[in-house]
Each structure stands twice: as C-alpha cells, then as structure tokens.
Chain length 253, copies 2
Amino acid sequence: MSTPLVPAAELPRPEGAASFSPLYRQIKSLLIARLQAGEWKAGEAIPSELELAARFGVSQGTVRKAIDEMAAENLLVRRQGKGTFVATHAEEKIQYRFLRLVPDEGSEALGRQLLDCRRQRAPAWIAKALQMRAGDAMVEVRRLLHSKGVPVVLDDIWLPGQLFKGLTAERLAQHRGPFYGLFEAEFGVHMIRAEEKIRAVAADADSAALLQVPVGTPLLSVERLSFTYGDRPVELRRGLYNTSTHFYRNELN
Amino acid sequence: MSTPLVPAAELPRPEGAASFSPLYRQIKSLLIARLQAGEWKAGEAIPSELELAARFGVSQGTVRKAIDEMAAENLLVRRQGKGTFVATHAEEKIQYRFLRLVPDEGSEALGRQLLDCRRQRAPAWIAKALQMRAGDAMVEVRRLLHSKGVPVVLDDIWLPGQLFKGLTAERLAQHRGPFYGLFEAEFGVHMIRAEEKIRAVAADADSAALLQVPVGTPLLSVERLSFTYGDRPVELRRGLYNTSTHFYRNELN
DNA sequence: AAGTGGTCTAGACCACTCT
DNA sequence: GAGTGGTCTAGACCACTTG
C-alpha cells in the first residue's frame, strides 16, 4: 500500500492546511478507487466487513462507517445475511433509477424505439460539458420512449467516443433494460450521480413531429449530466418530455 | 414513560407480525414526537447525546445512531462542539431550502411581491391533498418572485385554516425571509419534506399578464405538497416558473 | 477547563441467508 | 452451522466551541 492508513489524530497538520480525513474516509476512498479500477463489477459482492477490516488493519466498525456512507450514496447495496454488493442500474426492477417520469394513472413500463446512433465529432458545448476537446470523438444517440404506444419522451444522448468504443445501433437495439445497465456490463462505465437542468420549452418542428404533438406544445426539457466515480462527467442527455399524461416527480428534503 | 424501551431482541414477535424496531429507531420516534409536540423550537438546541442517553437509559452510541438518521433527514443539524439543533428554514442564508430555481447567470436574491391573501373554503381537490374536508377553512396566498425586477415565479399557496389562524396579508408582507421561517416561528409548523409534480404548461391570460409574457408561453408548473412531522400534509403550492433566464436544478443519486 | 459532537476500538449478541 | 450484515454497549481519546 503506497499510502499507509493513519488515524486522523496522527496525521501531520501543517498550519492552515485543509483538515485531514478520518480513517473511515480514507478507507472509503480506497474502496472507491477499487470500484473505479473495476476490481469488483456491477452487481458483484465486495469482501465482507470483517475481511476488509483485517485487510486494512482497522476495526469492523470503521469499515462499517465507510460502507455506510457509500451505501447512502448508492455506490453499494447492503443485504443482510448475504453481503455488500456493487450498485447497478441493471436489476432495478421497479424502474429506471434516474428517470423521474411518472404516469398520471397506472404504471405501465415504457417502450423504447431507437431512432439513431452515430459517431460524430463533438461540438464545443458538448465537449465542454463532458470535459473533452471540441472535435473529439463522440457517440450520439436519439431515441423515443412510448407509453401505450404514444411517444412521451424524445432523448438525445451524447457519450465520449473514447469510453464507448464498440457502441453501435445494433448493440443498443439488441439490449434489454436501461442503457445504463449496458454501459456497466459492456463498457465498465457506472453512472453514480447526475445533475439535471429543467426548463419548459416549446416543441419545434422536429420534436413536434416525433412526439406527435402540434408545434409550440409546451414540453419539459430535461438536460442531464451524469457522472461516474471521481465526479467525471460521462454522459450528456437532453430529454423532451410530453407532460400531458405524465409528470416529473421530485422529492425535497 | 408509557412505552418502555426494549431492545429489539426482547420484543415479542407474534407470528407473521411486522418486524419491530431496533432501539435506536424507538428513540428516534420519541425524539420526533417531542419535536412534534414543540418541546424544542426551530433553531434551538436539543439535549446533549450523553444527557439523552442517560435519560433514555441507553448508551451514547444508540442515541447517536438515532440522531444520525434524523440529521440525514434534515430534521436536526449537528454542530461539533456546540450541540445538536432543530433544523430551521429561517436561517438558511444561501437560499430557500425547497426552491430549486437557479439563474442562468449570476446569483441574485429574489424579490417578493405579495398579491393576495385571503381565507376561503377549500375546494375538493385541495381538501383532498391536505387531508381536510371540502369546505373546511383554508388560507390562499398568491405572490410573485422577481429577479432584477422581472417576475419569474407566480406562486399560489394553500394552507389549512385550522393551523394558520392569525395569518393575514399584513403579517406576510411585514415578514422578511422565507415563508417557511414565519410558519415555524409564528405557527409552529415545520416543513420537513415535500413532493413536487412538475409539468410544462402554456401560460393562460391570467398568469401571462402577471409574469409579463405572451399568452401560450411555456412555463414550468411545479405543484408542491409539503409535509410536517408524521407525514402530515400542511401546504399545497403551485408555482409557475418562467424558465427563460432560470432553470430548475435537480440532483439524482 | 468543561462540555459538545466525532472517531475508533473490542466484544457480545441478534437477524438473516444459504448449505 | 457458518457466514453475512445489524444492533448495542463501554470506554478511550480527538476536535471544536465557549467561558
């Protein structure tokens, strides 16, 4: 181990320096680094608390606290009696973890229709959001989500070409379940957090046609930037939601 | 104490009954009940962990875990060296805790303009949301929020008349800071959680005039139901946001 | 210096899952 | 029964705030 673990109390504290991390946070960082390195894949179990405690030379309680935080951040999932597992978007049976769209009535699953998938050069504004250089390779995906046959969401998705090398329309079309499950399994990219900017906009000719609404219809514009470990942005997405039969649900705390 | 605390292990477990709470959750419930009873007011300190532990006859660690959860839910705020305090909307200097509206540029404070405040009888749909009976007393408030002199948000707010007895236009107009601060201080009503339903809608004549936009302009409709302790709904609010210079920011985890 | 929350330990025992 | 996470305890010491 290149960076030996030390209790916060024994850490050097230069005058005016930023405060140092307690032990459990150091362990959390080590665990995140291992997740990032792909040591354990999505859905797999990580070692038990006792084993990790022994490995790191700390008490079980300290490991517990590290894992507690990671579970609270949805990086890990604890299952009593079974173990602790790497969180995944693939098995969320209820719904897509990041999709806040709810039907006014009922709860039917959404149908998907892939419209387009091609590799492009990133324009400046996308490159900036994804922390790439303008002109870098980028994958662009366009798709529709249907509810009872009626189009409800038009998504444009932009991904760094670098990370998603073998991504093709066929691959996307074959796949069942959320894209994020595919991204984890095929490309080792875990979406762990996202920021959304939401606005009301008027449907333009293009989106109106695809969503089968009159031009000018108010639509919810949801611009999502998704992050993987280490706060690295790895997906930009703009969804246009027809909110005549669905709404965006949010919880405030 | 009418309900003696017992470790989960010693609790009776009738066949097929719901699982019982661990000790720290029982303590959490007791603390919430005391908050609800107004034993400590918003912004005040609650007793120290050691004192609570002694009072409840448990270890400090158990009290800590109860408080940890409550802090995570924004019911309490811990301050090292000082104590643990009842969370409040009054002193949030940065911004209104439940308002997710962010300007595209800059970060100016929002100006407020009270349009109306009157007591009414609750129509059925509001009564239902607030778990009252149709026709029960209700306070209706209408106001605008401005950014740099331009109206950005039109809010309609409905409150149970029962809980907000002395609420008048004058009282609201005098008050500085978020309404929720006033509600805490004057009426002992703490908003601790809220659910929002968000849609894109077209401005009607009324709202278009007040927001100074053309009729038909896409607006963000934000319907918020706020809850106090014990998941009791105590406020319904519908905001219409002009998102031409601002957006609704959300974080997904 | 005293009092508060924050970290860390060690150990006991419980609840759940799988074999 | 063995192994996992979950609860609870008791005690030591640290970090921060206030008098």
